[in-house]
Symmetry: C2
Subunit: 449 residues, 2 copies
Amino acid sequence: MGDMTRVVVVGGSAAGMAAAAKAKRVDPSLDVIVFEKGGYVSYAPCGIPYYISGLVRDIDELVYYKLNYFIEKRGLDVRIHHLVTDIDPDNKVVYVKDLKNGNEYSVSYDKLMLATGGVPIKPPIDGVDLDGIHTLRLLEDGYSFRARVNKAKTVAIVGAGYIGIEVAEALRSLNKRVLVFEMLDQVMPSLDKEAAKLVEEELVRNSVELHLGEKVVAFEGGEEVKKIVTTKDSYPVDLVLMAVGVKPNVDLARRIGVELGETGAIKVNEMMETNIMDIYAGGDNTEAINLVTGKPTYIPLAPAANKMGRVAGENMAGGEARFPGVVGTSIVKAFDLEIGKTGLSLREALEYGFDAVAVDIWHGVKSHYYPGFSKMYLRLVADRDTHRVLGIQAVGREGVLARVNTVATALMAGMRTEELKMLDLAYAPPFAPVWDPIIVAANVVERYY
Amino acid sequence: MGDMTRVVVVGGSAAGMAAAAKAKRVDPSLDVIVFEKGGYVSYAPCGIPYYISGLVRDIDELVYYKLNYFIEKRGLDVRIHHLVTDIDPDNKVVYVKDLKNGNEYSVSYDKLMLATGGVPIKPPIDGVDLDGIHTLRLLEDGYSFRARVNKAKTVAIVGAGYIGIEVAEALRSLNKRVLVFEMLDQVMPSLDKEAAKLVEEELVRNSVELHLGEKVVAFEGGEEVKKIVTTKDSYPVDLVLMAVGVKPNVDLARRIGVELGETGAIKVNEMMETNIMDIYAGGDNTEAINLVTGKPTYIPLAPAANKMGRVAGENMAGGEARFPGVVGTSIVKAFDLEIGKTGLSLREALEYGFDAVAVDIWHGVKSHYYPGFSKMYLRLVADRDTHRVLGIQAVGREGVLARVNTVATALMAGMRTEELKMLDLAYAPPFAPVWDPIIVAANVVERYY
């Protein structure tokens, strides 16, 4: 290796592989090593619900690029089943354990990236470690959960966020009895109650047994989980999915002195540099600036992870890329509904101190006379003082992506509702009405200034 | 009427009715009169192709609001079958003819709006006035064309723009033989050839007989059209649709001294004021600023017409609304394809003097493993010098609206590709891949700077 500059990436999922591939492309002379403790790199955990439902037949389909592609085509040294056990930032050395044979060794680095991702939260509930209680994060998790689903009749899902809802749909499509427990009094806590209510109705319409405001206090069973006990009742179950969220995997970072932000995730600048020289971070272990509030936020979603990774990779190769932040855009399918959000909910906007106002409209997503016409629910949140757009929530049978991405772009540009209502959006009867729902909402909200 | 301030609107389609309704809402004390020479107000000419195909059963479904709604609920004095024959701007009087009984009278105004719309271009071709040669603009046009379609076996469409293509699809769904003649060597001249080619392939795949680069030089027949003669050949036909575009209906405006712009349409400022005091204009008779080029453009599409109308209406009622302009966003369905465009094509960008570069990508519109996966063609045009986004063209089986509207928003914000590639766009396997096609294109285009 000698004079070669070496980049070491800790973790081979979205951010890590994006960083490694980008660094090598920018500077092919680099020696780029990726250590991944699991057996897969570059995969799509978001596809796991569709593997569970059987829409995706083979779990390997969730892999974007095979290991060999990175090694042979991209010239990366990717080592799976390798755990980074420690890092010495002063001497710029990482300590690694080969999990297949137990061998330990060290490798020096010039630039290092922490792409250790997130880990599913497992709250300290009695019996949470019983057999039959799963989380979904790694492909291996999907594989083992699906294997258990076949012989289960009743499945409990704890947590009614994105993953909980997607898996509920998957399990209903397999005709399983599905109980969803959410300790809050609504599903999808990032939505305001009005939008969440529409999702709840869709779940119930599809025979999901929804238990809101019901906290799980214990799991019971012998070796295997048999019963879930809540603040209200207890329920026999065959299988449990814990889907109560993700937290940043920062044990190693904290141990070596990498600064964490107030969100608990790693703090970086726009270049994806941590407080320690030559150590970068990105992905689900790292916080990002919410461009609506200007404050750090922890939103562990793949698009941001990929972008952070690419920026870190470019900079480790000597570039000057910048990651500006996020506005918190997301979309999820729940049976026949599309649910999207970008920016802040009204509740969030008020919490952040905005003089926020929200308007709710129901408006056609295509021309009223076109077959398949349906209406979309759209809540627009704006600042009464500055008229700045703060966010939207959209729920409908189609067309949600277009509205959410349009407003996400407006948020990143810092647009006011005066500008939003003048957007030159596309119109044709099969796709959109002449007054797009976004523009209608932007016109209506002005009445409340 | 006495002291009441009177607003007179000439023309009752999109811009006119939007103006009238807005003016009355802003100031309910206004006396608002709309003169419409046809029999309908507030209708959707863009829906006519779907009436022809039968997807829309009754032509009345294309009317947004019935006449009585405007009169009884909105308090407007709407007079259909009334033609404004002249205007005296010095004395602020309009001269009107009631087409039902031939009565002529005059009405004074305080504020006047010219919403005379556009008229289909009928080029001076031999025989162009034969029976059986139609245009589509008014609902009445749709009604009479559809009545003729039933007994026609072979229909020729002259012009391969939006309307020509939509009607071709409608007629093929009725199993008519359809010949499309376009004198240019591509369909949809606002697209670059590469995108147009994809549309052409879809038309041919659906048995539309496409004659590109073939100019119509004569129509032949006795009273009724029987044959269409082109620069290459002649073809027996039963019915003809002329769909070669729309021009601004500005005869009256020109006659009274309203200034026209270089596009031939009425020139207005951001308030929708013409050069004559208290005369406003908006809709398909009016030009707008293209915010990408900064220059006036004539793009007669309903969303801009509606917005212009609303702005004019607000200002006639004493408001201070502004219409900033357009970026030229459009979408059209052609059989199983969605075709969208916003901003400039490469050809247009070069014509306007930009140091423009274009990249073409084919990228998934959802996750590769999700059922129904398909790829979209996307051309991104950017300025090599400033890196400003100049436009996109998108062609695919789904998801075009989202991409076009997102980039339209970016164009209105004047974004550079560095910003475009950092947009926080929504991701979920059923809707979008983790790297949205827009972001992929924005990354790729940088290689050509």
